[in-house]
């Protein structure tokens, strides 16, 4: 009996040891699987970083292309926004206005100059350019305006816009100097250069825009502005033709943003052209914008 009991106890102990060993093995296996899954994730993260460093895959090819000439319909629409629409919209959804500065007058051949510095890849430039083009068209005429879109790899990708690169502007009231410092075509870690800034312009930008933000606008040395007055998101998914067509629809969010900003810019231009021409500077939409300009 004693021997049988000892044998049973020994068998139970062996069984318990075997179960414990099996459990231990299972535990190791589970831990191994867990560690492996963590290792796989870490390996994939490291792999992605290594591929980037090695330059494999590169960045998404930009769908950007150099600007082309804007269509006649687009240029006409920009230059013929009905006065009634501009007056109805007033300041629209323009959220920021040019700020007054103390500086020597910016002028060329006795006419005040409006200076613009931007880049074709820049979505905020893409938005503000429309308003600048509409505002300036009230004082003169455009030729050679380009059509392009902002970078496809930046924020607000592919915002449809115009380009001042290669364009010319004629007006009896003011002159315009526009610089698109880069295109929207990738080059190295940035974008291909377009219009080099003359030393005088660089100096001016350094003085009034030390951070080098774009778009930068200087209205006759009396006002400066950086950034856009409305979100480029308003233009998302549209073509240049669709944006241009919407400019004459006072109910369109596009018109409220672009025409509203154009009125604000027009008001600042009127302050450097001595209120000329009266037909533009006395328009109700511009008068409303002057009040916004004065209130900052």
């Amino acid at each position: 009996m004693g021997q049988q009991s000892r044998a049973r106890t020994a068998a139970r102990a062996r069984t318990a040891e075997m179960r414990a060993a099996q459990a231990q093995q299972q535990r190791r296996r589970r831990l191994w699987r867990a560690m492996s899954s963590v290792g796989v994730v870490l390996l994939l993260v490291t792999g992605l970083i290594a591929l980037k460093i090695a330059g494999v895959g590169g960045s998404k090819p930009s769908s950007a292309a150099p600007s082309t000439l804007a269509s006649r319909a687009v240029v006409d629409a920009v230059g013929t926004v009905p006065k009634s629409v501009l007056n109805t919209i007033g300041t629209g959804t323009a959220s920021s206005v040019p700020k007054p500065i103390r500086a020597p007058a910016l002028s060329v051949a006795g006419k005040p100059e409006l200076l613009y510095v931007g880049a074709e890849y820049c979505p905020y430039c893409a938005a503000q350019r429309w308003a600048l083009a509409v505002a300036l068209a009230r004082f003169g005429s455009w030729s050679g305006l380009g059509a392009t879109h902002s970078s496809s790899a930046d924020i607000f990708p592919n915002t449809p816009t115009l380009s001042f690169h290669g364009s010319s502007y004629a007006s009896e009231f003011l002159t315009f100097a526009g610089y698109e410092i880069t295109s929207n075509v990738r080059s190295g870690t940035g974008y291909a250069p377009l219009d080099p800034l003359p030393a005088t312009v660089s100096s001016l930008v350094d003085t009034f825009n030390p951070q080098g933000s774009i778009p930068f606008v200087d209205v006759g040395g009396k006002y400066t502005m950086t950034g856009a007055s409305f979100s480029p998101d308003v233009l998302a998914g549209l073509t240049q033709e669709q944006v241009a067509a919407a400019l004459s629809d006072p109910t369109s969010p596009v018109a409220k943003a672009i025409d509203g900003t154009a009125n604000v810019l027009t008001a600042s231009i009127c302050n450097v052209t001595d209120g000329k021409p009266g037909s533009v500077c006395g328009a109700p939409g511009v008068v409303a914008a002057k009040a916004k300009l004065a209130n900052g």
Partner: protein
């Protein structure tokens, strides 16, 4: 054979048949989930309040604005920052000591599945940052690190937990 009292408390591995994860792992998972919630909350706040009419920022590799306002900042129509807040909120609840102690298999699997989903999403976002946007957002990277660490802690914790599985 060592008795339960010979073990160094809940910090050590659980005994055979025990269903409790080590306390350090439980607390680590909770801390990571809370940390992730904080950072994701900040990114969400920035997403919903930051101005969208700013000037163009520089186009260097480290550029949060490029990332947080890109097309990849939304997933299935929802801001990724909001998804992050929701994810970490759920993980905080799933990583509470009481949740770890719960015998519910559904709870364990939800915690494991959600943490794995988080890690996969990190891989997707990392790919987008590196190969589509050419920009890295440091705050987003902090969230990514926390998410992968949380995945590691949850997976190992679950492996130790599943003693009876």
């Amino acid at each position: 054979m060592a008795s339960r009292t010979d073990r160094s408390g809940p910090v050590a591995g659980p005994a055979v048949g025990e269903t409790r994860a080590p306390r350090r792992l439980i607390l680590s998972s909770l801390a990571l989930a809370v940390l992730g919630l904080g950072i994701a909350g900040y990114l969400g706040y920035e997403h919903h309040t930051a101005s969208t009419t700013l000037s163009c920022p520089d186009t260097g590799m480290i550029n949060c604005l490029t990332v947080t306002t890109s097309t990849y900042a939304r997933f299935l129509g929802l801001p990724v920052s909001d998804l992050g807040v929701g994810y970490f909120l759920a993980m905080v609840l799933l990583c509470l000591p009481s949740s770890w102690a719960s015998p519910s298999l559904l709870l364990r699997r939800s915690r494991l599945a959600l943490s794995a989903l988080g890690a996969l999403f990190v891989l997707y976002l990392l790919w987008a940052e590196l190969f589509q946007l050419d920009a890295i957002c440091l705050w987003c990277t902090a969230v990514h690190v926390v998410t992968v660490a949380l995945f590691g802690v949850v997976v190992i914790g679950t492996a130790l937990l599943d003693q009876q599985a």
